[in-house]
Amino acid sequence: MTIAEELAKKQREISISEFFERNKQILGYDSPTKAVLTVVKEAVDNSVEHDEPVLVRQEGRVRFVRIGEYVDHLMEREGVLPDASGRSFVTLSDCEVLAYDDSTLKMRWKPASGAQRHPLRGDLYEVELVGGRKVTVTGSHSVFGLAGKRIAALRVADLRVGDYVVVPHRELAVDDPIREVDLRPWLLTLSPDRASGFMIHGMAARLDSIPRDWTRFDFVPLSHVQKRRLEVPRDARVTVRFGKSRLPVVIPVTEALMRFLGLYAAEGTRSRRIVTLSFGAHETDLIDDARRCVLEAFGPETRLSKVPAHETAVCLKIYSGILCEVLNEVFGCGDHAHEKRVPDLVFNVEPELQLAFLGGYIAGDGYRGREKISMTTVSPDLAAGLTFLFALRGKAFSITKKAAGFRVFPRGYVSQTRPAYSLYLYGSEGLEEQPNSPLNWFPLGLTGFLDVVSSMRPLSSYNVPLYKDMWSRPHYTIGKFAEALVEAEEYAREDLPSDMRGQKAFLERLIFGDLSFLRVKAIRKVESPHPYVYDFSVPGSEKFLGGRGVLFLHNTLDACEEAEILPDVSIEVRKGESKDEFVVAVEDNGPGILKKEVANVFGRLLYGSRFHSRRQARGAQGLGISGAIMYGQITTGKPATIRTKTAEMDVAYELDLIVDTRKNKPSIQREEFKVWDKAHGTRIEIPLKGRYIGGKQSVTEYLKGAAIVNPHARLSFKPPEGEVVVWERATQELPPKTVEIKPHPYGLEIGTLLAMGKETKSYKLSAFLEEEFSRISPRVAKEICELAEVDPETRPKSLSLEQAKAIVDAIPKVKVMAPQTDCLAPIGERLIKKGLKNVLGNLRPEFYSPPLTRDPAVWQGNPFQVEVGIVFGGDLPADQPVEVLRFANRAPLLYQAGACALAQAAANVDWRRYGLEQRGGQGLPYGPAILLLHVCSTKVPYTNEAKEAVSAVPEILTELDLALKEVGRRLKTHLTKKERKVKTREKFDIVQKILPLIAQKSATIVGKKVPSLDGTITKIMGVVWIEESVAYDKKHVVTIDVHNFTAAGKKMNLHALLPRNGWKLGKVRPKPTEVREDGKITWELPRIGSVEKATVTFELLGLEKDEYDETDLYVSGIPPDLVIGAEPLPGDWELNYKEFEQEEAPPAVAEEEEVDYDETEEELGDE
């Protein structure tokens, strides 16, 4: 099994539309396939040690296994052979592991596509966390931890003591819990030899022919049942031969059963026929309770008795051979103290019942202290199983291991002891809140919490004690943390600065997510007795829960990031055989498609597309690529030709394909293998009848748009006639991945709710609401149910129309947090600028407005975000309407501009205010400008199926309007500044160049010495002139000259505001007074004499040439109207400097009244 096959599995999941997106829309390297294709790189030496425990779920049942045993077993069963490097891979078709979801930080089961085993190379490390959780992995393996205000994979070899590692913190819901244990499947598969030793009671009387007189006792040997293939009724019971105690064949899962299993794990032993629980003689209550549990769990026919063992001990003996067998073989409890396990059943029952198991175990083996419950076991499996159980129930715990040794008893008796594990469960009640557990501490400083809170509340006068308190403490409990964030939000008057938004979203996910942090206590190199290490592949997630003490392990992300492919797409349109026939060919360098999937991917409509996906995707036009193939085949009668090659394939697979429209199935007309010199990629050729046009709605325009918003792609286009057009890649940076989110309840429609109810895996309405929607907490779910007067226990599948309506009506009345927004992938200000520069560079526009990305907003429950950029001047045509480039979810829109909200919003702005020509202040303005508008949303409201235009949704129009006006203001500021600068620049030239020459020349003529010009210069200028120049040679060198052209000396502070990030400061001269994290550098300049100048220089490292051309300069401590070339520093800089970006420059001072001789030449030249 190769990675490519893993890929295939993933490809089954991608919709046609997504593939279409990649090939025709050219846009998709952020699909789920990416993670998989990048596993191409060898994943050797990146794995978990043999004995590490993991939870897996098969056929819906959770199992607690050692990874090595589990994988070895699977490989043996499948007959997998290792490859040359000793590595083996087994595909998993029904195996899920626990992972957390990136977008919500919630834990969930994720399918593992395969498991691998490879020889151990390099060092093994044991990572121990505060509280004793441990995992043993190879050095190149990663665990998830807190890295610079986010969660990231940290290589174990790079991990340091004190780092924070992610651990589960909340309870994990149990999907489809087991409610009864049916012994029949187990019984029916016993070997005939053994089966003869089991008797089934309660079915003989109902049988027609019984060979012996079994009817009298109403039992039948199991072997007979097996041989005759008889059906065992549910109410039958089972014994071992001659056994007195019978056991129901279907044992209901009850509190009593679970508590019994807990007690057994703590105190139980078994022989062939007797189960023994040992107690202290004084524990009479417990003994009585144990008796109750047995009788309730296994029925009154179970025989048991209390037997004193010695003076201080009492045994409860259960005479049940069948129970002995079941405990061992069905429950898998383990026989002896050092082999005890947490039965797998425990992981599959309702949470209360899991607690009943723990209760039983603690009652038997635990000691309740004031603040914690202590437990000790010599069974490593039991200890590990308990930690998983604690973790999945959201309990705080710690674990320590006491090494094996000798114990000296009184009277000199020496005994060898096994290693023992001590577990501590925090909180005296054990199963309740444990606020003092380290698990509840959040490293506030590291999560960025303080930054966010302080940015939210810019005024320190809001002196909330909580906020103050937080500064002084390194940790804070998660409860307080949530409260503080909410409280801060209420006080927040201003929008968060953009760089904090992501951080806030992250914090919100932390609050609502299932994760917490623990610090690394120790990291040691260890030896392993096992020759192999193991790993699961979890496509799209690359993390799984494991380790002795439960933390998230990561498999191959580093490799993925390295191997990500930058798209290189070529498009060709050429004339076909007949007159109006064309062939469209698209070729990419994508991962390629596995042979067996090709036909389905291209040849079936809506193949594998998913329901309710709330991820921002570009979206196909209608039916996607297969729709295009179908169109071609209908119009020309010819098949499409597809050629594809994955990295693993030596030759490419090529086929001719048509869509069998009746069956919606692909029909392969021809297939063969061909040599292709491409490492991997896909090419599709579709013949079709149509018309090729140039101009506004042409392929070229579409690709131009695509190139702007995908600066990481290289596109080339060969039109039917003429030259190949190439849009080179402008950046190596891939766009951020979009994450999928669940729908927000606001704006939910009844039909959708009902449909989702049918699909969900949840069994209860409340769980359904919590699981399938974002921002619904248990409290909110409860509130909704109460308001709607619908029982929270209702099965979602059986919701009635009335109930659904009540729920939909109730939702708006409940306060739900706004949707999270990291599901959106705006292009971002930097990349918009890059893309525009790349495509429009030859027009040499003089001004690229800093593009504006608005904060996310919501329409009908769908988060959306708008972005607007404007480009002005240069060689852009000045006498035509402004060109409007429209994009929705990163795809260019070409048609139906009139019906499109984007174009409407642009036409509704009064552009005259911002320096563009516009007749009557409405409609598209005229001028040398291009407007770029982008709406991204989890659901873009297109006007039609073809996705050609965006509907005029009021919320979107409002956002667009605000963004356009803001960008307009920036343009206006630029124009005003430019005008003012040109004028002053002129004067500067006069005093710097012309005046000295006049002085010199006049002095020569009159034969006197050259006069001083200071007085004249200050009269002409009368300002402080600040001039900046930026040079680039591997780094940016910024030189700022401050000329004092006023009549007196001037003292001032100069402030430079640099971009927020991506650079490092090199040499700075003179030494700045202050360099702030927000990129503001301040110099307190010494007094500059009249007609003297001061120079400030600094170096910026790490930016590309194009990324920096101008510094935002501000001055303070000087009347602002005396300064040209820098803006006044806003007095309340600390609060909101943004407003000042919008402030318009003061009007130029009126010139003298004298008539300018040289401006009045109008009549001179016309004769």
């Binding site: 002129e986 004067k987 030239d989 006069i990 160049k993 012309i994 005046l995 020459l997 006049i998 002085a999 020349k1001 006049s1002 002095a1003 020569t1004 003529i1005 009159v1006 006197k1008 006069p1011 010009l1013 200071d1014 007085g1015 004249t1016 009269k1019 002409i1020 010139e1151 003298e1152 004298e1154 008539v1155 300018d1156 001789y1157 040289d1158 401006e1159 009045t1160 030449e1161 109008e1162 009549e1163 001179l1164 030249g1165 016309d1166 004769e1167």
Partner: protein
């Protein structure tokens, strides 16, 4: 500046001395302003049509009292001041070395003046005129001469011209010249050109070469007893000066015979009223009694002449003329308005519609007859 002064100052060593003195004065003023910490500036009469006043004494249009300031506060002003300094220096050198140059040469020499270099010859010509105005000298005093191609004269007039080697030579402009006629030199002052005698009733100043040649071929100078002068478009200063001298000294009437379009009206204006550009020497260049016998809008109608449509620029120029004080009389008002109404213009040579001799047999005799210059 009085005519006397102008006439007196032009050319001679005296003029040069005055020029040096005046130019030095300009430099001294600028230097003084700089020393005082002031913004250097020069004050000049505005050379616009709004600042043209009729001088009833000389019957020509001269600059009025409106003044403009050329100041170093503006880039353009500063550059002109700098150029002024360079030009001053250049002229001083020329005078010292008794050389002269053409305006065009000065334009090219300015290539070496760095920032002060002229970007077009218009700029250098204008500056030379500015200096004339300020110093009340003529550009000839500055040793600057136009390279204007001299216009031609054919007719029975005898002049005496100083040749290059200093001899005086008599030329009869009818008998001693070829078909191209006598070429007017750039200096037509008395020390260079003297009138000896003339047998003519009037001077006909013709705009285009084609018409000039037609009249020569048709022998109109003899038939009409007139002196034909080819203006070559907008006439140069020396052509206008010569016309004025023919008018004043030989008492010949001057008539301008031009195309029927706004630009030709302005040619007549510069001949008869004084050009705006050179209004400081109008009394020296303009011939107030000159008559207009060119194509008028009425001619277009009366003679049913072939026409061209007015261009937007033509229309603009006609409208500008409606507000030009020099055209402020009934005749011009009516003709301009009529032309605007017709939207048409016509060339002199449109008269050939009726045959090559039409202009000499019919048109000119009719027009000149009205003026009593032909029978």
């Amino acid at each position: 500046m009085s005519r006397k002064q102008a006439a007196k100052s032009s050319g001679g060593a005296q003029g040069a001395d005055k020029a040096v003195e005046e130019l030095h004065g300009i430099a001294t003023e600028i230097y003084g302003q700089l020393t005082a910490g002031q913004v250097p500036k020069m004050t000049l009469p505005l050379r616009t049509k709004a600042n043209i006043r009729f001088d009833p004494r000389a019957s020509v249009w001269k600059y009025g009292s409106l003044k403009g300031v050329r100041s170093a506060k503006k880039l353009k002003g500063a550059l002109m001041l700098l150029r002024t300094m360079y030009v001053l220096d250049f002229i001083k050198d020329m005078i010292d070395q008794t050389k002269s140059s053409t305006l065009r040469e000065m334009y090219y020499i300015s290539e070496g003046w760095d920032l002060a270099k002229f970007h077009s010859q218009d700029e250098s010509n204008l500056l030379a005129e500015d200096l004339e105005i300020i110093t009340e000298c003529l550009r000839e005093d500055f040793k600057l001469r136009p390279e204007e191609s001299g216009a031609s004269v054919i007719g029975n007039v005898t002049i005496e011209e100083v040749t290059r080697n200093g001899e005086r030579r008599r030329i009869n402009c009818k008998d001693d010249v070829g078909d191209a006629g006598y070429t007017i030199p750039y200096n037509v002052e008395k020390e260079k050109v003297k009138f000896v005698s003339a047998d003519a009733k009037f001077v006909l100043a013709i705009e285009t070469g084609g018409m000039f040649d037609r009249l020569v071929e048709n022998g109109f100078d003899e038939d009409g007893k007139c002196v034909l002068v080819h203006l070559k478009g907008q006439p140069s200063r020396s052509t206008r000066r010569l016309l004025k001298r023919l008018n004043e000294e030989l008492k010949l009437n001057v008539c301008s015979f031009v195309d029927g379009d706004p630009w030709s009206f302005r040619i007549h204006a510069s001949v008869a009223f004084g050009a705006i550009k050179t209004a400081h020497i109008s009394e020296y260049l303009a011939t107030p009694t000159a008559e207009f016998v060119g194509i008028t809008a009425s001619d277009i109608v009366n003679y049913e002449l072939p026409t061209d449509a007015l261009t937007p620029r033509d229309i603009g120029a006609l409208n500008a003329e409606l507000t030009d004080p020099r055209f402020k009389d009934e005749f011009w008002k009516n003709e301009i308005e009529l032309m605007l109404k017709l939207g048409k213009k016509a060339e002199q040579q449109a008269l050939a519609k009726y045959g090559l001799d039409f202009v000499t047999d019919r048109y000119l005799p009719e027009k000149l007859g009205e003026l009593g210059l032909m029978r």
